[in-house]
């Protein structure tokens, strides 16, 4: 998987980096994709993720699936604080990007760009590709 990450507000090196970014294809009829990633705050200060956007989606929200007593509830959070030298993982069954209103069909293999807006004027751009769930969720691979 090719991932290109560009930090646009980092004079002495990127305070925020991203790894394992992936967007899964939307099942037919739903227009609802999901994104996962790991965000690393490499700086000595907290970083606030303000919002996430993409040219390929009308709307992206940061959500978290919380499972308590075998009940799954989905909660949105408008912003996210990453502590200094800490990581936040977006993964299946936890925090995730809910990506709705695709501009075009989100088939596996197509390029997608994710824009992470942080600390009011910071921007981290990730270029990746849409992937199929089958390859990502098979924990035997």
């Amino acid at each position: 998987m090719g991932v290109l990450a560009v930090a646009c507000s980092a004079p002495e090196g990127p305070p925020l980096t991203i790894s394992n970014a992936l967007v899964l294809e939307a099942p037919p009829g739903t227009q609802m994709s999901v994104g996962y990633m790991t965000l690393d705050n490499n700086s000595d200060q907290p970083i606030v993720i303000d919002r996430v956007t993409s040219p390929q989606f009308a709307r992206i929200e940061m959500h978290e699936t919380v499972i308590e007593n075998d009940v799954a509830r989905m909660a949105s959070f408008p912003s996210l604080v990453i502590d200094p030298h800490s990581s936040v993982v977006f993964e299946t069954g936890g925090k995730h990007l809910m990506m709705s209103g695709p501009v075009n069909q989100t088939e596996a293999g197509l390029p997608v760009t994710i824009e992470i807006h942080y600390d009011a004027n910071g921007l981290l751009i990730i270029a990746t590709t849409v992937r199929s769930r089958e390859h990502v969720l098979d924990d035997s691979r």
Partner: protein, 206 residues
Amino acid sequence: MNQVRKYLVIGLVITAFAGGAFFMILAFQGPRGIPQRATVLPQPAPLPQFSLVDQSGAPFTRESFRGRWSLVFFGFTHCPDICPATLQQLAIARSRVLADGENEFPNIILISVDPERDTPEIMAGYVGHFGPGVTGVTGSLEELRKLTTALGIFFEKSGDENGSYSVDHAAVVIVINKSAEFHALFSAPHNVEHFVSDIPLITDST
């Protein structure tokens, strides 16, 4: 004589270690033939009568469960994370169990807890994404509640300030046996290995 005693002691120590290791492995793996992740009901519970429809619009009732094991997940198509993930995990488990030589795998059934948006047409496109052997079921809330109440399945609409809504719902996978009885369940979080290891043990147990 001392030499004999020395070898005897060494032999006893080795035997003790080997025996201990054997019992530790048994304790770690658990007895063979018993599901390790699923909870099997001591007494299967018959399903109530209900009337829903599948993705082709055909009736889906209690009788639809008869004659074949089923794995039922209650979810909805606008759910971005756990619903498609669980269906995909079940679909992968299906492929692996069949590849391992089992003759059949239970039907995988998604029953919508969002019938307002999940029409049979929407369900048809959605479940088709997860390969063969996946059925989509929807219908009226009244009929849906007949089934969810009997199974202890929670679901509740949850709106937001933008006017859109989600549905909080049970995350378990319910196992229904060939006699249309609630037989077992898998608690979340799910993974493929849990399904692959336990489903053949459950379906072969009766």
